[in-house]
C-alpha cells in the first residue's frame, strides 16, 4: 500500500511541477508589435447568406488592399455560433488574428478583457478621426467614458417587415405604427393557420434585443448608471410581459415560434404563414427565399404611442458589427491600415450595400443607395430612434440570464401555462441573482 502511495505522491508532484511551468508561460506577450509587417490574419463574421458568399464578397477587397499596401490578408470567415468562443480562446492564449469582427454588443465585455486595442484619439487619427462615424455607432463600441474597443463597420437597426398580400387579404390598409395596432392587426390576421407576428423564442440574443427596446419604451433600463443589473423594475417586468403576452394573451404569435432559434420566422414570413416580423436587414434573406421585393413592405418598428424618437420612443437597438484590432498583433501598423481601409468611405459604401446594412461612416451614408425601400427605414431609425444595448462588461451574462428567462417564459406560454406579472418578476429576479456580484 505504501508503495502505491509513494508512487501517487510522486506522480502528483511531477504533475504539479509541470503545471507550474505550463502556467508560467502564460499569455504574457503584452501589446502589439510590428514584427511581421507583410501579413495579417482577419476573422470576419458571417454576414452573407453563407460562408462561401462572404469569401466571394471579401476576397476581391482584400486583394485591393494588398495591391495598395503590399500586405497580404489571410481571411477566415467564422460562423456566429463559433465566433465568441474563438475570440475567447484567442484572448486566453494570446494567439489570435490581427484584425477581427465582433458583434457590437460584445464590445464592453471584450474591452474589459483587455484583449483589444483601445481606440484612443491617436489611433482614431490614423483612420481619419472619430468624427467620421455616426455617434450612436461609436456608442456601441465600448463602455461609456472609455476609449472604444472597436470601430463600427456595419450598422443595422430593427424595423417591422410586413407581408403585403396577407395584409390585403385581412383588409388592413396601412401597416401598424404602435403596439396596439400591431396587436389589433395581428388578431385580424391570426386565423386558419396564419399568424400575425413572428418571434424567435429560443434565440437568446433576439429575445434580448426585443425586450431591451420594450423596456426603454416602459421607461426602464436593464442596468443602473453605474453598471449594476436592474432586472426587476416595473418597466422591465412590463416589457417582458408585453413581449411574451403577444403569444400568451394576444395570441398573434404562433406557439411554435417558442422553439425557433434559427431564423425560421423569416421563412414563415416568406411562405405567407406570418404577416409581420421584427428584424434587422432582412431584405436579402427574403430575396434568397424567393420573395419579390414588392411583396413585402418595411416600416419603423412599433412604439407604445406617438412617433419613434428618443427616450420612451426608442424602437430599435443599435445593431451592428464592429471591427477591432487584437492587442497581441505582430503587425500593428498593418492592422490599423486595414481598419482604415475597411472603414474608408468607398469600402464602407460597397460592403454595406452588399450586405444590406447601413454604413456607420457619415460620408458613406450619403450615397442614395441607402435611401432605397429596404434600407431607408433602417437608416432613419438608426439616426433618430435607436439606442445602444447596455455597454457593460457583464453583457454576455445578461444575455444568457435574461435571454434564457424569456425563452422559458415563451415555453410556458406555448404550453398554455399562464404568464403573469408575478411569474415574469420571479423569473427576472432569479436572472438578476445569478449575475456576478462584483
Amino acid at each position: 500500500m505504501s508503495r502505491i502511495r509513494a508512487a501517487a505522491v510522486g506522480a502528483a508532484t511531477l504533475t504539479l511541477a509541470l503545471t507550474a511551468t505550463a502556467c508560467g508561460g502564460g499569455s504574457s506577450s503584452g501589446g502589439g508589435s510590428n514584427d511581421s509587417p507583410k501579413t495579417l490574419t482577419y476573422w470576419a463574421s458571417n454576414q452573407g447568406a453563407s460562408i462561401a458568399v462572404d469569401k466571394k464578397v471579401l476576397q476581391p477587397e482584400l486583394d485591393k488592399f494588398e495591391k495598395q499596401t503590399g500586405i497580404k490578408v489571410k481571411l477566415e470567415v467564422i460562423p456566429w455560433s463559433d465566433l465568441l468562443n474563438r475570440i475567447l480562446t484567442a484572448t486566453t492564449s494570446g494567439q489570435g488574428p490581427d484584425v477581427l469582427n465582433i458583434g457590437n454588443t460584445w464590445s464592453a465585455s471584450l474591452q474589459a478583457s483587455g484583449a483589444l486595442l483601445p481606440w484612443d484619439a491617436k489611433n482614431f487619427d490614423k483612420i481619419g478621426g472619430k468624427d467620421r462615424f455616426v455617434e450612436s455607432a461609436i456608442g456601441s463600441a465600448g463602455a461609456q467614458g472609455k476609449d472604444p474597443a472597436a470601430v463600427p463597420l456595419y450598422s443595422m437597426s430593427y424595423a417591422l417587415y410586413y407581408n403585403k398580400k396577407m395584409f390585403k387579404d385581412a383588409g388592413i390598409s396601412k401597416p401598424p405604427t404602435t403596439w396596439d395596432e400591431v396587436v389589433a392587426d395581428g388578431k385580424k390576421i391570426s386565423k386558419n393557420g396564419k399568424w400575425g407576428l413572428a418571434a424567435e423564442g429560443s434565440n437568446l440574443s433576439n429575445n434580448i434585443h426585443q425586450i431591451f427596446v420594450l423596456a426603454k419604451q416602459h421607461g426602464a433600463d436593464w442596468f443602473t448608471a453605474d453598471g449594476k443589473p436592474d432586472f426587476t423594475s416595473d418597466g422591465a417586468v412590463a416589457a417582458v410581459k408585453q413581449y411574451v403576452d403577444l403569444m400568451a394573451k394576444d395570441k398573434i404569435i404562433a406557439p411554435g415560434n417558442a422553439e425557433y432559434a434559427q431564423n425560421q420566422s423569416l421563412s414563415d414570413f416568406s411562405k405567407n404563414k406570418t404577416a409581420m416580423v421584427l428584424w434587422q436587414a432582412a431584405a436579402s434573406t427574403f430575396k434568397s427565399q424567393g420573395m419579390k421585393d414588392d411583396e413585402w413592405g418595411v416600416v419603423p418598428a412599433p412604439v407604445q404611442s406617438g412617433a419613434p424618437g428618443q427616450g420612451q420612443n426608442v424602437n430599435s437597438m443599435v445593431a451592428g458589427i464592429n471591427i477591432a484590432v487584437f492587442k497581441n498583433t505582430k503587425n500593428l501598423d498593418g492592422a490599423t491600415k486595414f481598419v482604415k481601409f475597411m472603414t474608408s468611405d468607398e469600402e464602407s459604401k460597397l460592403l454595406n450595400k452588399t450586405y444590406g446594412s447601413i454604413p456607420p461612416v457619415k460620408a458613406a451614408q450619403e450615397d442614395p443607395a441607402f435611401n432605397a425601400q429596404s434600407t431607408g427605414v433602417l437608416k432613419e431609425t438608426l439616426a433618430k430612434s435607436a439606442a445602444p444595448l447596455p455597454q457593460v462588461a457583464d453583457e454576455s451574462q445578461f444575455e444568457t440570464a435574461v435571454g434564457t428567462a424569456v425563452k422559458e417564459l415563451f415555453a410556458d406560454a406555448a404550453a398554455g401555462k399562464p404568464v403573469t406579472t408575478e411569474s415574469v418578476k420571479a423569473a427576472l429576479t432569479k436572472a438578476q441573482q445569478s449575475m456576478p456580484t462584483k
Partner: protein, 290 residues
C-alpha cells in the same frame, strides 16, 4: 421490462410463444432504430418546401439537388478530409500505444502497475469540460515554447482524441491479451524472439479481433466528438462534427441539405463499421467480457 417479455433460448425447439414475443419485440425495435434513418434518407431527397413545411411520409417530388448543393454551401469535402485524417491518425496511434501498454500490463510485473491501471482508467471519469481550457492553454504554451503548432492544427486534435480513447482501449486489450495463452509467447521467447518479437509475431496476430474492436471504438469517438473540435480547430482544420453545423447557421435552415450531408458522411462510417462488426463481437467477447 425484461422480466415479462424476455424468454430464454432453448437448445432444442423454441416454444411458439417465445418465437412470437421475439417477433414482436424485434419488429418494434427495428422500427425504432430505422425511423430516423428513414427520415434522413427520405428528407435528403425532398425539395426544400417539403422539409420546411409539415411533415409528410410521401414526398411531393424527389430531387437530388441537395446532394449537389451540399458541396458548395459548406466546404464539406475539406471537412471530410480533415475528419478522415484526424480520426484515422488518432486511431492508428491510439491502437499502437494501447497495444504496448496492454502488453506491459498483461505480461510484466513491475512497480507502479496498479497505480498506472487505476489512474488511466479513472480518467474515464473526467468531465471533458474540466480540462478543455487548460488543455488548450497547454497546447498554446507548447506551441510558443517549441514552435510545434498543436492548437488549431490537426496534430493537436489527433493528440487529444488518441488520449481520450486510450484508457478504454488499454483496458480492453489487457483483457484480450490475457486470453491469449501465455505458453504461446513464452515458447516464442524460448525460440529466441525478443519481447517485441513475441508481441508482434504471436500476441498481436492472435488478438486481431480485439484490436479491430478497439480501433473501431477509437475511430467512432474521434469522428463524432464536438466539444474539443469546436474550440481547437480553425477553418482549415475543422472536422465534420462541427462543420456540419454550418448548414444550420445560414439565413435559412436547409433541412434537406443537412440530411443529405449527414447521410453522405455517415455512409462510409456505417459501411466500415458493419464490415468489421464480426470482429467487433469476437473482439469484445474476449476483451471486455473476459
Amino acid at each position: 421490462m425484461s422480466d415479462t417479455t424476455v424468454r430464454h433460448r432453448s437448445p432444442m425447439a423454441a416454444p411458439r410463444s417465445f418465437v412470437w414475443s421475439r417477433r414482436i419485440f424485434l419488429t418494434l425495435l427495428a422500427g425504432f432504430v430505422l425511423l430516423p434513418v428513414f427520415v434522413m434518407v427520405s428528407s435528403s431527397l425532398k425539395p426544400l418546401q417539403d422539409v420546411q413545411g409539415e411533415f409528410r411520409w410521401i414526398p411531393s417530388g424527389l430531387t437530388i439537388r441537395p446532394y449537389v448543393d451540399i458541396w458548395s454551401t459548406v466546404p464539406l469535402a475539406k471537412y471530410f478530409t480533415n475528419s478522415v485524417i484526424v480520426a484515422g491518425a488518432a486511431t492508428v496511434c491510439s491502437v499502437i500505444i494501447a497495444v504496448f501498454a496492454a502488453y506491459a500490463v498483461s505480461r510484466y510485473r513491475f512497480r507502479g502497475k496498479r497505480v498506472f491501471t487505476v489512474t488511466v482508467l479513472s480518467t474515464q471519469m473526467l468531465p471533458g469540460i474540466l480540462f478543455l481550457l487548460p488543455l488548450f492553454l497547454i497546447y498554446v504554451n507548447i506551441g510558443n515554447a517549441t514552435g510545434i503548432a498543436l492548437f488549431g492544427s490537426r496534430g493537436g486534435l489527433i493528440l487529444t482524441y488518441m488520449t481520450f480513447t486510450l484508457p478504454f482501449s488499454i483496458w480492453m486489450l489487457i483483457g484480450y491479451f490475457e486470453s491469449v495463452p501465455r505458453d504461446l509467447d513464452e515458447a516464442a521467447l524460448v525460440d529466441g524472439c525478443g519481447p517485441l518479437g513475441a508481441l508482434f509475431r504471436i500476441i498481436v496476430p492472435a488478438a486481431i479481433p480485439g484490436i479491430v474492436a478497439v480501433a473501431v471504438y477509437s475511430f467512432m469517438t474521434a469522428w463524432g466528438e464536438v466539444l474539443f473540435a469546436s474550440v481547437m480547430t480553425n477553418e482549415t482544420t475543422r472536422t465534420l462534427s462541427v462543420g456540419l453545423g454550418a448548414y444550420a447557421n445560414l439565413n435559412d435552415v436547409y433541412w434537406n441539405q443537412i440530411m443529405a450531408a449527414s447521410l453522405v458522411v455517415s455512409v462510409p462510417v456505417v459501411a466500415g463499421f458493419l464490415l468489421l462488426q464480426r470482429y467487433l463481437v469476437t473482439g469484445l467477447t474476449a476483451g471486455a467480457v473476459k
